[in-house]
Amino acid sequence: MTNTFRALLTGAAIFVAGAATAAECIAPANPGGGWDFTCRQIGKILYDIGQVDQPVQVTNMAGGGGGLAFQTVVNERNDDPDLIVAASVATQTRLAQNAFGGATADQVRFVGAIGADPGVIVVAADSPFQSLTEMMDAMKADPGSVAFAGGSAAGGFDHLKVLQLAKAYGIEDVRTIKYIGVDGGADAITQTIGGFTQGMTGDMSEIVGFVQSGDVRVLAVLTEERVPGFDDIPTAREQGIDIVAVNWRGLYVPKGISDERFQEWADRLQAVADSDEWKEAMAANGLAPFTRVGNDFQAFVDQSIEESAALSREIGIIQ
């Protein structure tokens, strides 16, 4: 009996680690996170709508905030045409800040994003700030008077969102803006409701429950237009601060594959984006539509990395 159970456990472990099959999607994190979701949902829909013949194998490769998977792809799988890797804005920010141990964005090809988690700026229900501009005015008078909590480390995307807004509003020294990185969006909200910070910066999906319960108010959503289903939340753009910051969910592929294969993945991704299954999955997970595939997406990522790098340099995250 003993051995049966040990065998069972080992079997389960091997099941997680994964065996080689046709198409493989690497989620550069443990099961359960955003990257894992991207791989599992896109992989499942690709198979369900007949874009691939065999179920997509999901491999979890956590480490280095995605850097381990990135380096593995670059060094060991550079010409694997059946490999896709989950990516998001965090991948982009870390590449901009050279956080992948010297790896650069041009070592892979970003094939597309199909959906994005809109950035939000949130305050506690009893906060004196009624609009984003009131908050920014207070920061202009004294940049240290408004402290933010967010789910990413300093210099991460949540932090950069605040800095982008402040710069766009004409606040000169963005380095004096206080930001604490905590363990995830819910923790950041807790700190804000508790009054330890005055604002929370995060993604729409992280705050939905707290908005419904009335514990927090959303001052602005950082999208081009208001998000369907959240029509009473104004965008930053309509408050006069033209910043769009969304946490896109997408994929990259190895650099060494042919242009035809690259285009093939781009087309498949487009097919997923157009499917009803994906629309349902997006709605259930608080994602807004955001479809950019192929060379169009690559150009978007390149430009975003340039902007993030410039901002990170300014606040001293990178030299």
Binding site: V16, N30, P31, A153
Partner: protein, 506 residues
């Protein structure tokens, strides 16, 4: 009676034959996973996630299965702590301190029964508290900012000296080493890597599970090989299991106090079950004083951490369900499962999805009863797994350690680290340096540092901010008392007893 009707709803969900079977299966798997050194609740839950999906379980059924595994592992962890001196999972670390000496004194059966009952009491009280006051308790998280968390972690470290009864300096050295190891990895406040030497494997820091398996399980194997079994923990004999009613009755206040303290530690996000079992053990140790003989195999030393860690495990579900903030590694995995099942934990969960929440609570109550039966009358089944001859057990411990650690990140690097920690544990044992403070340093070091630095960012570096709320002042006072009191108490208590010890033995 809202709660009763809600509970009725919960039981109507949980008592279907299908979910009941899942609960029993989950308890069984959980206890085994917990008992096997190297596999803990977070492995157990993580390993079952893909199985849950492939079985196509709905949200409630998946939750029942996974939380049964979670509770089961919390129960099972004590078995190898007591029999092998290797904690089956990290919160069971404190159970080694008295559980293993009890086993060596020939009281392994008593230790298993008492700790099983303590686990039941802790988990039951926590589940009842979860049921009655979870939404209110969630508010507690709003009271804890960076300054308060820093003081809380400081409290844990201030009592560490007492863990090594002989040499406090060695305990301090061990916790300094643990804190040092914790500094490796990404610095959360700047996003820059520290002490990684450019190695991507070290970017996420060193997982405390790697350290705990290395320091306890692998080093135990080394000691066994070196001594050919003499002086090693492996191979403790277990006689007939009887219920020591008297001991259980005598530990009733210990169990109750520990359940309450453990639950409080559990509901604070980030503190978790390990802190719960540590604080309860230290609390009982200081209540009992020198006469309590903690560390030599006393029943209270087994009952306290087990009641504490099981109630903390229940407590950790409170912030997870009501705020979406995981209170421990395992609840982080559970949270991820909920999200994948399209359930968003948060303040509206209790109102939006009552069938999920109350189904979960009902199944926790059922799991608890099942676990008590499995872990007291039927504990021998699990003991058998650990009671195989050394020729099988040694490779078995190694194999499970390797599988468990590999399943964490799927990286060979962690395996090398684990062996390095094994060597370190073996050396520490030769030098009589306690290993528990190393684990605590790794476990809490980052959180303690992060909160100090967050506090400094918010206050522009004003140190007085650390004492700015009643909660933080209270925790500081407790920490200072915890640090100073043993020194004075020892003097006061020791003086009259000195002549006793000093008597010539001739």
């Amino acid at each position: 009676m809202d709660i009763l009707s809600n509970l009725a709803l919960g039981f109507s969900v949980a008592l279907s034959p299908w979910t009941l079977m899942l609960a029993i299966l989950g308890c069984f798997i959980g206890t085994i996973v917990g008992a096997l050194p190297g596999l803990g609740p977070s492995n157990g839950v993580a390993l079952l996630i893909p199985i849950t999906f492939s079985m196509g379980l709905d949200a409630t059924a998946a939750l029942v299965l996974l939380t049964s595994v979670y509770y089961g592992a919390m129960y099972g962890g004590r078995i190898s702590s007591i029999l092998l001196n290797i904690p089956g999972d990290e919160p069971a670390m404190m159970t080694c301190l008295d559980g293993y000496p009890m086993a060596k004194n020939g009281r392994a059966g008593d230790a298993l029964v008492i700790s099983g009952v303590a686990s039941f009491v802790g988990a039951l009280l926590a589940t009842v508290a979860l049921m009655l006051i979870a939404p209110m308790l969630a508010q507690a998280a709003y009271l804890f900012g960076p300054a308060e968390y820093f003081a809380l972690y400081l409290l844990a470290f201030s009592t560490l000296g007492g863990i090594a009864s002989k040499n406090q300096a060695k305990a301090a050295l061990a916790s300094a080493i643990g804190l040092g190891i914790a500094m490796i990895g990404l610095d959360n406040q700047t996003g820059l890597p520290r002490f990684t030497g450019g190695n991507l494997h070290l970017m996420d820091g060193i997982d405390f599970l790697v350290a705990i398996v290395g320091l306890f399980a692998v080093s135990e194997v080394f000691v066994f090989i070196e001594s050919h079994g003499k002086g090693s923990a492996l191979g403790v004999k277990l006689g007939k299991i009887t219920v020591p009613w008297r001991d259980i009755w005598e530990t009733k206040w210990t169990m109750l106090r520990s359940s309450i303290l453990g639950f409080i530690a559990g509901i604070l996000p980030g503190a978790g079950a390990s802190l719960g079992s540590f604080l309860t053990y230290m609390m009982e140790k200081s209540i009992a004083g020198e006469k309590g003989k903690f560390g030599t195999g006393v029943v209270k030393g087994v009952a306290a951490p087990e009641a504490g860690n099981n109630s903390a495990a229940g407590g950790a579900l409170v912030p997870m369900l009501t705020l979406g903030v995981p209170g421990s590694g395992t609840t982080a995995v559970l949270l991820a499962v909920l999200m994948t099942l399209n359930i968003t934990p948060g303040p509206t969960l209790f109102a939006d999805r009552p069938e999920v929440v109350w189904g979960l609570i009902a199944s926790l109550l059922i799991a608890n009863v099942v676990l008590l039966l499995m872990n007291v009358p039927m504990v021998k089944i699990f003991v058998k797994i650990l009671m195989v001859p050394p020729a099988l057990l040694l490779p078995g411990v190694m194999m499970v350690s390797f599988v468990g650690i590999y399943s964490l990140t799927g990286s060979y690097f962690d395996l090398l680290l684990m062996i390095a920690f094994g060597v370190m544990g073996w050396l520490f044992r030769k030098l009589d340096i306690p290993t528990v403070p190393v684990i605590l340093g790794i476990l809490l070091g980052n959180a303690m540092e992060d909160n100090l630095r967050r506090a400094m960012i918010l206050s522009d570096g004003d140190a007085m901010f650390l004492f700015s709320s009643p909660i933080s002042i209270g925790l500081w006072v407790a920490a200072i008392l915890g640090f100073v009191a043993p020194i004075f108490l020892r003097r006061i208590i020791k003086k009259p007893t000195v002549p006793d010890h000093a008597k010539p033995v001739d």
